[in-house]
Amino acid sequence: MSDATSTGVERRPIEDYPVRVVSARPGLSTRLRNLADRRELLTSLVSSDIRIKYKNSALGIFWSMLSPASTLAIYYLVFSFFLKNGIPNFVIYLFSGLLVWNMFQNSINAATGVIVDRAQLVKKVSFPREILALANVGAAVVYFAIQLGVLAIFLLAVGHQPAWGYLWILPISFVALYLFTASVAMVMSAITVYLRDMKHLMEVLLMLWFWLTPVVYTYENSLAAPLHRHGIAAIYFLNPITMIVLTFQRVFYVSTTVRSTVSPTTVLHILPTWPVSTYFYFNLALAGLMIVLFLVSVTIFGRLEGNFESEL
């Protein structure tokens, strides 16, 4: 039994529709199902986010390539000619770490205030609120992909081969990065509803966090070395970004030890000399942990979400 409707589309009898339940505190599985059901909204929000950013520019998305490309070019000039630290191809090392860091930082910076900024929407339209934070992460993923493309072009241009044998670990590492970023983004966006100055605190924290992560300096020069001497190197890996950054650096920079370009007799230790299996297991364990973290974050978000209305 179906009848023509106002839109001319055949309509299913109402009895065929599943029953949806709005209740006090939807469980984790309901939340995840709602999120999965609304993935179209996520892609819409991500694409509108990107469109808005480049709407009024004739070159459009080209700008987003220009920015990482110019960053890469400037680093290349600076570290090859002026700030020689003796590490050959330092710009590749730096950029592969920055790639990861930028994705994290851009997401968190955008997502922290997103629910407060879009209060009008949150108060009027029904959809899983996490999607707002996830859309910011999604936009950051797009820029991440663009930067990855720029890096690939650069590697091709300078004839630098990545570590092919390690390359397949990157997807696992990326999943861990995505889940970690999404978790922090969701929780921060919810906390900011209650504590509006979180945005400023987060800026300071992210700066500190950046310098705790071996992006600008090398892992072997980091705090990890003295910690390792005391047998507590594990502490250094409490920062999940570290493992991901190291993996990206291992894949794109390749060398673990190099000869200094300033004094050829000095050997510089850059990256840990782990075999591929160690990278694999560490990343796999990290990704597993991040799945748990993601689920916990969705739950925390659900708890905090209940009072949004009276806080916004």
């Binding site: 839109t7 709005v22 179209e40 469109r51 009008q120 959809f127 100055d197």
Partner: protein, 383 residues
């Protein structure tokens, strides 16, 4: 009949903060300041809406009707209780709340559609119809920030009604655009009704409820106080409004005046079409008061036939019993039963002092051939 909205024991509490600081710095420096009060916006609401039903939700400001609506739409979570929904729901809570002003109308149609839960392909199929309904063909690729407010709501309304939801929830947004567009919106809602979709309409306007709804629910102070036929619910709603007004009235006038009865000297409320009729009204008052007497006549289906106030000349009430006479020189109504409401309002006409809903019913007898409400006495002849 299938239940499409099932509201079961829904309560909603809000925390109201008094001078609470929403910053970490302030909380650390002054951990004890601010107090919180719990406000019961809804308590134990139960009702069902079936397919093929248009339900009006009425109540004055702060009665909890918007909260209830938002809870049904899933914008708010109930504190306790559950709401079960069947089918797609499109909510017109605030038109264009999801618009991104930097994007074009075209992009916003897709974005808004996605927010209402419809896929890109689904919107593709009805895109032309949306543009058509909104009458914005020329501006569809213009950024929404350059739209006028009328264009803005027209676009939003067009999306919401074109996605053909099974349940349409409308919150006082029918005042969209010019009169012609409003009519178009009402027509679309009528079409929805004919198609057996469910509509939940929140409004202040009793006339709108009479016009569109099959049933009305009245909320007061977060509680459901009436759920039934439109006429009956409206009566309860008006009496409650009056009751509240008395509570907030410090002059003491309102509680002292009541309309006791409307009677007919012949004892019968039957009247033939075209005949005269006289009604006696008994009013008791504790004080002297000068106000306007208002008389409303409704059809049984809730259509307002007439509202008159004795041409604006006030009646002077004296302490004790008062009698007013109402003379109809000619009842122009056709066959049927008509309900009469009567009341006293102040001379400026904005405060109801006393009201009696359903004070009397008259039965009009008519044996001619005309159909409808009013006798027009049309003469048709060949020329």
């Amino acid at each position: 009949m299938t239940t499409v909205i099932d509201v079961e024991n829904v309560s909603k509490k809000f925390k109201i903060h008094h001078e609470r600081n929403q910053s970490l710095k302030e909380r650390l420096l002054h951990p004890k300041t601010g107090s919180t009060e719990v406000f019961h916006a809804l308590s134990n609401i139960n009702f069902k809406v079936s397919d093929n039903e248009t339900v009006g939700l009425i109540g004055h400001n702060g009665s909890g009707k918007s909260t209830l609506l938002k809870t049904i739409c899933g914008v708010l979570q109930p504190t306790t209780g559950e709401i079960r929904l069947r089918g797609n729901l499109a909510a017109l809570l605030e038109l264009g709340a999801g618009f991104q002003v930097e994007l074009s109308g075209r992009d916003n149609i897709y974005l808004y559609g996605a927010m209402l839960g419809f896929s890109r392909r689904g919107i593709d199929a009805i895109f032309d119809e949306i543009v058509d309904f909104s009458e914005l063909e020329k501006f569809i690729d213009t950024q929404v920030k350059f739209y006028s407010s009328g264009m803005y709501v027209r676009l939003a309304f067009a999306v919401a009604v074109s996605v053909s939801p099974d349940i349409l929830v409308v919150d006082e947004v029918l005042a969209v655009g010019d009169e012609r567009f409003q009519k178009k919106c009402i027509d679309r809602i009528r079409l929805f009704q004919e198609e057996g979709r469910s509509i939940l309409l929140v409004t202040h306007s009793a006339d709108q409820v009479r016009q569109i709804c099959d049933r009305a629910i009245v909320l007061d102070g977060g509680e459901l106080i009436a759920d039934g036929p439109v006429q009956e619910s409206l009566r309860i709603f008006r009496e409650h409004l009056l009751g509240d007004a008395i509570e907030h009235d410090h002059s003491g006038v309102q509680s002292n005046i009541t309309i006791d009865a409307i009677s007919s000297p012949t004892g019968s409320f039957d009247v033939r079409c075209g005949e005269a009729m006289h009604l006696d009204v008994e009013i008791s008052s504790a004080t002297a008061y000068s106000g306007n007497f208002v008389l409303e006549v409704f059809t049984r289906s809730g259509l307002l036939v007439s509202r008159s106030d004795a041409q604006g000349s006030p009646v002077n009430l004296v302490p004790g019993r008062n009698r007013l006479g109402v003379d109809f020189t000619k009842i122009p109504l056709l066959d049927g039963i008509y309900d009469i409401n009567a009341g006293i309002v102040d001379t400026r006409g904005n405060t109801v002092i006393a009201w009696r809903e359903g004070a009397a019913s008259i039965q009009v007898l008519y044996d001619g051939r005309e159909d409808g409400i009013v006798e027009m006495d049309a003469l048709i002849r060949q020329q």
